[in-house]
Amino acid sequence: MSDAFDLKDPLKRRYRRFGTALACLVYAFMLVPSLIVIPVSFGTQHEVRFPPREFSFELYQIFFSSAAWTGPLLQSLKVACLTTILALATAVPAAYGIVRHDFPGKKAITLLLMSPLVIPAIVMALGLYLYFSYIRLTGSTLALVLGHTIYVTPFVIVMVAAGVQKLDPNLEFGATLMGAGRYRMFATVVLPQLAPSIMAGGLFAFLISFDEVVISWFLVSATTTTLPVKMYSSIQWEISPVIAAVSTMLTVLSLVVCMLTAALQRSGRGQ
């Protein structure tokens, strides 16, 4: 649609300018919530205000010096790391198997693996809550990790499957002809080539788990509270200004992940 030749028509130019102006408004609407927390986070604890009257790191100091915040932060880091490892370990081979092989029940299994994309988080949360209560796992870190793993798996599969589709199957075929077993071929030929997609999938998995609130809200106990759950109850009950500092750090994390995956996808394309 990027055709410059038709811009001589003044009517078209006017429409186009109008469209651009509208688009800018929507960009602003989308971006403002992510950005406004940054200036607020450098205010003081006595008032939540934009723009803040004086500049300080007070809110960050409070965050890092109170166990009520650092405990959930560490718990979230732990859950997100374990989730990423478990999700990569299962989803990367699955993505490869789905793209490269035909097998009975492939559609059903793919549907099962991708279903968390469609099933509302609240329904999964309820199911996990009922199930884990039954097997007495609710409230444990393991419950959180398992729940998050299911939730992030489809995202990892989509990322990695896209990477597998770009690989040249002849390399895998060649390795098999030379006598490499299935696993050796996978480990020495497929995995190294997939590194950018695996990294990108891992980053997604980490960020999604780190930000996840609904499933966690149902599964945490007082000792396993994650950062988003702490934030959720804090916004609901007191609106502590420290949330601005947490939000800023979360936004920076999103930005970093967003940039890194963009860079990884570019490097993947360059190969």
């Binding site: 989308m30 478990l86 092989h101 509302p120």
Partner: protein, 278 residues
Amino acid sequence: MTGVENSRAAAAFVSPAALVSLAIAAVPLLFILYTSLGGAALSLEAFENLLTSTLFRRSLYTTLEISVSASLISLVLGYVVALHLARQPPRRRAVYMVLVLLPFWTSILVKSYAFTVILGREGVINLVLSWVFGTQVALPMILNRFGVMVGMTNYLTPFIVFPVLASLLAIDPALYRAADIMSARPMRIFFTITLPLSLPGIVAGVSSVMVMSLGFFVIPALLGGRQDVMLANLVDFYTRETLDWNMAAAIGVLLLAMVVLLSAPALWMRRNQLAGKA
């Protein structure tokens, strides 16, 4: 490779993920179904109770009302952005894309908090209005329907942009050139080429956004008031406040059924597209 050999290789790669999904995704869903039927009693009592409960009916209506209107508003907003992105040369498009991706990746809690700062009683907008009019202005913009709608459309808009942009980019530029040669006016071009040909993206975007909004939990809880209780909040209420797991599970089953029905058009559309390509 023989067929058997092939299946065996596939099983080795796929089975770990499949087993985890069976144990942690499929079994919990069966648990919901089982609980909604009152356990071993296998009665429809919970569903009957739901249908006669005013709380449930009001919240079902609220959910549908909010979901439909939020989806339509985000469709308009997302379409405007997708049109703008589609017009950009690839390099500049990648830059503008960041403006969509950053909000896409921003935590829903950050957004909810940000809107309490922007729309709150002493929030940015009220502050500006008070300053402009020289009196204390305190428009109620959160803990009501307005707050929920702003929060939801903000969250959903990026999810419209991606599918609509994909179908806009798939339109053959020759069509635009032809329309231009025939000196069609911009509005006519939009309604006879752009809009109909981006329909697959619209359907995919709207149905995924609808599916998401039916299950919204955080935004109505943090930005809505008593009148804006959605089904997901009701599930939370029954599970954790009244400990009525049968009711919670019955709502879960209904939510799941609605979501499956709603995602059918998108799946159907995709299959048709694939059939068209083959």
